[in-house]
């Protein structure tokens, strides 16, 4: 089985961000980068799928990332987890238009002979959740998004999607595109053995064929600071005061 996983290099979300002086990007000083959360679940799902095959050695997990040269670090990280090879689609300027990005990804994926193309359900930084479906359309492949349970049976993808207060059981034939939600797999930790092996795995660099950009970033800004709150009391004796405030001040009761 041949599986492609599209991954994105994103900064660690636990830190406070500052906007760079150009107003359209995040100040990178002090930031640490890694594979975007959902993409990490996708990589793990891909690796587990490969490991479950009758002959795992005959399967291949290929990781692909679009961006400047630094994304090669992220591709190496994915290979240290177990991906077999990587493709870097080189693009030095940030692109925000999902359609334009999808054009570049589809151009690479077409003719790749992939049984499964996997995405994280959204990238944790730009959070558009659109690239996967557009790629699927450009490739003419069926796609199931935001999968929380993944099964492959008889050449079909059988999945579960979480909705609001309910869920769908959904399936499609392979080859297919899927986007992965949380809950399918916990990412593994790379062993040093894996990290060393990753250094020798093939990493191909190609120019990215990004489409026309019709959705452009104008600026980034920090959200307004929340006004400081206060602790109104201790223990159950504070409850009457809370109820009063909710009624009169916040007007939510």
């Amino acid at each position: 089985m041949k599986i492609a996983v599209l991954i994105k290099r994103v900064p660690d979300m636990d830190l406070r961000f500052k906007i760079a002086s150009n107003g359209t990007s995040v100040d990178e000083s002090g930031l640490k980068f890694d594979i975007s959360d959902f993409d990490g679940y996708a990589v793990e799902a891909a690796l587990q799928t490969k490991e479950k095959q009758a002959d795992p050695a005959a399967s291949e997990v290929v990781v692909i990332s679009l961006g400047p040269d630094v994304v090669q670090e992220t591709l190496r990280k994915a290979m240290s987890l177990g991906a077999d090879r990587a493709i870097h689609l080189k693009c030095d300027t940030p692109v925000h238009d999902s359609y334009a990005i999808a054009t570049a990804l589809a151009a690479e994926l077409k003719g790749g002979g992939y049984d499964l193309v996997m995405f994280g359900r959204m990238s944790i930084d730009t959070a558009n959740q659109s690239t996967g479906p557009i790629v699927a359309e450009l490739l003419g492949l069926p796609i199931i998004t935001a999968i929380s349970k993944l099964g492959l049976e008889g050449g079909r993808v059988k999945a579960r999607r979480e909705l609001e207060g309910s869920y769908e059981l959904i399936e499609c034939p392979m080859p297919a595109v899927v986007t992965i939600d949380e809950g399918i797999a916990r990412p593994r930790y790379p062993s040093l053995k894996g990290i060393m092996a990753a250094k020798k795995k093939p990493l191909e660099v190609k120019p990215a064929q990004v489409g026309e950009e019709r959705y452009k970033l104008d600026k980034m800004e920090l959200p307004p600071e929340r006004a400081a709150g206060r602790i109104i009391g201790e223990g159950k004796d504070a409850v009457p005061e809370l109820v009063r405030l909710l009624k009169e001040e916040a007007k939510v009761l």
């Binding site: 636990d14 830190l15 406070r16 002090g30 790379p190 894996g194």
Partner: protein, 635 residues
Amino acid sequence: MTSASSMVFTVVVVAALGFFAYNVQRLVGELRLGHRDDVRWNDLPRRFWNLLQIGLFQKKIFRDSVAGPMHAAIFWGFCVLTLGTTEMIVAGMFPGFSFAPFVPAPLYRFYEMNQDLWGALVIAAVSFALFRRLTKRVKRLQGKETHADDPLLILSWIGVLMITMFASHATTGVLHDLFWWSHALLVLGFLNYLPYSKHLHVVVSLPNVFLSNTSGPGVIGAMRPMDLEGDVAVFGAKDVTDLSWKSLLDGFACTECGRCTSVCPANITGKLLSPRKIVINVRERLEAEAKGDHSKTLLDDFITEEELWSCTTCRACVQECPVSIDQLSVILELRRNLVLGESRFPAEVMPAFESMEQRGSPWAFDPGDRGKWAAGLDIPTMAEMAERNERPEVLYWVGCMGSFDDRAKKTTVAFAKILKAAHVNFAILGQEEKCNGDAARRMGNEYLYQMLAKDNIATLDRYGVKTVVTACPHCFHQIGNEYPQFGGNYDVVHHSTYIESLMAAGRVPLREDLHEPVRTFTYHDSCYLGRYNDVYDAPRETMKRALPMLNLVEMPRSKDRGLCCGAGGGRMFMEEKVGKRINAERAEEAIATGADAIAVACPFCMTMMADSIKSRDSHVEVYDVAEVVAGRLAV
């Protein structure tokens, strides 16, 4: 002895010695299966000193007040009686031989008297030993991993040896010959039985004590550095062939006494881990491997993950072993294999690893918040001082707990106040500080550790730091003892030592309170301060100087016998699911002293003790030594 029988005896002796030599060669061959690159000819003065103290003077043996004298009697007796045995065997081969012509007569009589005296002592000691084993059910002598019959056989054998010796002296004629030959054959037999028994320790223990690196100054506790750049086939150790020859020798030196297991905090509280079993397993696996069995490995087939992860790396086992075995090094090499080779470790540890890598701290705090505890205290960072072209007298290394944990921050502030009151010119690194990496290294994640250590060393060197003071024993141990492996050489002082020196110099202004009530404190020794670095007195002295009315009571297990709080070796980040909680065991011991407060000198110990005290609704308070002093500042 006729010349015919002496010829027969000579043949017997040659055969016996030959067979023994064969076994020695075989065992040396087994040692060769391990790693060769472990040099033990360095630091000869320390080695000879250890040989004298621990080997000849039985220093560690005496830590058990009952078995101590008993064993010393047997060992010293053995040394003395070897002289007599040698004389006897040579006389057997060359009739008429004696030491008498070679020494002054009084000395020879003194020697003969000692043969009898020590022979009698040995019989007494061996009888007591047998009695003890058969009737007293001493806990540490039992264990599934031990070879229960061997000691009984050996003790009896020694007893019979002594009896035949005395009997041969006391008889003549045929009876004498009978006892003489019995004694001689039993001696030669004993010698040749040793390689097949745990009693091999008779031959191996003194060399093992000499060759060991377990007793000495702080750097002794450092883990083996690993080169991660080259092509490494195996990370750490999966099997005995991946261990150093010295660890394999440890296996031969072990006499299964169980002292290590009896002081292991994990074992005491019901976990599977037994340091003795680790060592016995090494020998068992080595013997199987030497016989050609390649189907098993030390890791998983003999020693399980559960055992390995229970270890807090407190070093009590290493401290206790009378023949200087390093049980801990085997545990740590196997951990390295689990983590670096296979990413096998308790699931709850992963967030700590990821956080250390991404944020330089095992907890998900914003690194930008590191210096926040210092707000309003007028403490410069190294960066600020560098900008003004200034250098502090000392760098205060705060550590992750001290920077982020609410309870530990109080200790940080207390120590800072003391430094201020003493007018010490100090600075902190603030945001530039990263986790010292100890937890990562001890959990086996050498890769992550080296990343953190090298970053910290680069930062320290960039500022030309020479002296570091820290309130965390793990930071203390790392920066002082292990960072030199990567070129980071600094003078590191623990805060309790530093405070004591400031007090001794009269730099710390304390209140003159003449009506202080008596406070009863007990002090909990931190493993990484105590056993790893021999700092036992400074915290106690500091408290005595600070508190005029101090009643310091000691727990039964204190100083180098101190019971670990349970957080070391990365266990702070793991769940404790089996048996009794280690910190509960220690808290009970502390409460039982009747003290109204416990003093600690480590943020991990602080957390573990405070958590356990709180969970049993006790009113005993927990303070860091710095807080005790800061509470008495005259400000």
